[in-house]
């Protein structure tokens, strides 16, 4: 565990490590290897790193071609372009081909707050979750990011890695073992389940502490694999509390909140509240200002929990 390493740095280091272990690992970029922190890979393995230029829709197709002849391509750009610019390519050339492509979406959610909605990634999970053959991951901290990269390099199949840029606490010790598809209990509790993913861990843990002060016992569950997400793995936690809250830096349509709601509706029939970005195009500002403005904040979450428990 290292408190000073952020997720982008962890990714950058892990990519070089994976490159050492896997001689077939190839890195592709679209003119922003600096922003994607892939430059150390270029320095370590110049013969295995390619900047294709400002050509985001070519990332999934070139990566698919590389994968189909046995390479392990990790392609990198801002998440909003990594997913949406080449979405048809991801569906047709990556997933339908079951090509061993690793899509790495950087600065996801509202990480690039000041850049405005053109650079905010709030529909990527919605767009990808219905595409077969694809695994969707998002780490809560540096250690999980490191282990996810190592796992992705070994796994034979398409994966989307959603990376935030926000500073997050280290919640995992190095003895933590990432297990794909398995939500992880971060805090135990009996009244309400708080399902979070990615950098929303900060808000989730703050909420848990605040609820504790008010005599409400909340469990915090890290859903770092958004797909596949088996019902029993959510039910296992959901059955232990009376209600659930989901928190995500993503549209409330189609992301973590939707995924957990689907399982709750079919298997638990307990009250659930989604905290996320409403159905709108956002605006420019600091990420924290934006999250507060759009209702992804401690006050709204507290009110949400109180309203949920009143229903129980």
């Amino acid at each position: 565990m290292n408190d000073v390493i952020d997720i982008p740095t962890a990714y950058s280091l892990a990519l070089v490590e994976a490159g050492k272990r896997h001689p077939n690992l190839v890195v592709l970029d679209a003119d922003i290897p600096d922003s994607c922190r892939t430059e150390p890979f270029y320095e370590a393995f110049p013969e295995r790193a390619f900047d294709l230029g400002v050509a985001e829709q070519s990332l999934p197709t070139f990566a698919a071609g590389l994968a189909l002849i046995g390479k392990i391509p990790f392609y990198n750009t801002f998440a909003v372009f990594a997913v949406h610019r080449g979405l048809d390519m991801i569906r047709q050339s990556v997933c339908y081909n079951r090509a061993n492509v690793k899509i790495v979406g950087h600065a996801a959610g509202q990480s690039l707050g000041y850049a405005g909605p053109s650079h905010h990634t709030l529909e990527d999970i919605s767009a990808l979750r219905a595409i077969p053959n694809l695994v969707i991951l998002t780490p809560v901290d540096a250690e999980e990011a490191r282990q996810m990269v190592a796992w992705m390099a070994k796994y034979d199949g398409p994966v989307y890695l959603r990376l935030s840029r926000s500073a997050v606490p280290s919640v995992h010790a190095s003895r933590y073992v990432f297990e794909v598809g398995k939500p992880e209990l971060l805090r135990q509790g009996t009244d309400v389940s708080v399902f979070i993913s990615g950098d929303m861990v900060t808000l989730g843990l703050a909420l848990q502490e605040r609820l504790h002060e008010e005599g409400i016992s909340a469990q915090v569950v890290n859903v770092s694999t958004l797909k596949p997400l088996l019902p029993e793995d959510i039910v296992r936690y959901g059955c232990q509390t009376h209600a659930a809250l989901t928190i995500e830096d993503h549209s409330i349509y189609g992301g973590l909140g939707s995924a957990v709601s689907e399982i709750y509706a079919e298997h638990l029939q307990k009250p659930l509240k989604r905290i996320g970005i409403p159905d709108m195009f956002t605006e420019s500002d600091d990420k924290d200002v934006l999250l507060k403005a759009y209702g992804v904040n401690l006050e709204v979450a507290l009110q949400g929990v109180q309203a949920l428990l009143e229903k129980c």
Partner: protein
């Protein structure tokens, strides 16, 4: 394989011409027997190209479809799948009975190429303008490996309306993808009809040259010219190369070739027999030569 022009003697040439007739017969049979509308125009324009590739040129092994050193082939114009299926069948990748289930649930022969279902297919395609960039990625990997094989891709002129084609074309030349050999089926019509004056791509050869590709042109229905073209592609090693094959939509079947609108037709018994009779006649004349 890779039979050069000097080895293409009269018997070999005639075999290729006969294979093209057989391919056309099989394609119309696939549509007629299964009661399916096929892109007959786009299929007939690519027949000689596919026969040259699979009966004469590509280093592939039907007994070992995943052979590491095989030439790769990507059908970027995925709607041409029936012609690819006939070529694969003729090369021995699967048995003839699979045509009975063509485009049906459970069949190894889907509406568009599916690499996970059909032996011999290297890339699933169907969304226009995507097979070509995937082939570019394959060629990039081949270059990294110093591979002996080549990556072939059949692209349509209609696909050259897709921005993804030109984005990839630019990257391919920047990356000096000498393993990449593209064949362009220049039949001058896209789905909705003639491209001239509507969705034109001219000057096509100049465009590819401007993108720093080696460009060759030939009659895409003449096996000797196609062979020369493939030989020319092979000789290029330090940049991507393209062979623009000038073709005719619906070639070889007058009913399709002269069809006033889009010839995605459901063949009636009468029309099927008429097309078949024409092909029989051409075959008979060829055998009598």
């Amino acid at each position: 394989m890779k039979t050069p022009l000097e080895s293409l003697n009269n018997p070999a040439l005639r075999e290729l011409q006969l294979s093209a007739i057989q391919c056309r017969k099989k394609i119309i049979e696939m549509g007629y027997v299964n009661h399916i509308r096929l892109h007959y125009g786009a299929l007939m324009s690519m027949v000689e190209i596919m026969m040259a590739l699979y009966c004469q040129w590509l280093n592939v092994d039907p007994a070992n479809p995943n052979w590491q050193d095989r030439d790769r082939f990507v059908l970027s114009k995925g709607h041409g799948a029936p012609a690819l299926y006939v070529a694969l069948w003729m090369r021995g990748f699967f048995a003839e009975h699979h045509f009975q289930g063509f485009r049906r649930l459970g069949s190894i022969l889907q509406g568009h190429p599916d690499r996970l279902k059909t032996p011999g297919i290297d890339c699933s395609t169907g969304s226009l303008g995507q097979g070509f960039p995937v082939a570019c990625g394959m060629a990039l990997g081949a270059k990294m490996d110093g591979a002996r094989y080549r990556v072939y891709c059949l692209l349509s002129d209609g696909e050259c309306n897709e921005g993804s084609v030109w984005e990839a074309a630019q990257i391919a030349s920047n990356q000096k993808l000498g393993h990449l050999k593209v064949i362009l089926d220049r039949n001058r019509k896209s789905s909705y009809g003639w491209m001239a004056g509507r969705n034109d791509v001219e000057p096509l050869a100049e465009k590819w040259r401007a993108f720093n590709w080696a460009v060759f042109e030939c009659d895409g229905h003449d096996f000797e010219e196609i062979t020369t073209g493939l030989t020319n592609l092979e000789a290029v090693t330090d940049q991507p190369a393209i062979l623009i094959c000038h073709t005719v939509k619906g070639k070889g079947i007058p009913y399709v070739e002269n069809y006033p609108t889009k010839p995605n037709i459901l063949l009636t018994e009468e029309k099927y027999q008429e097309c078949l009779a024409h092909l029989d006649q051409v075959e008979s004349e060829l055998r009598d030569e």
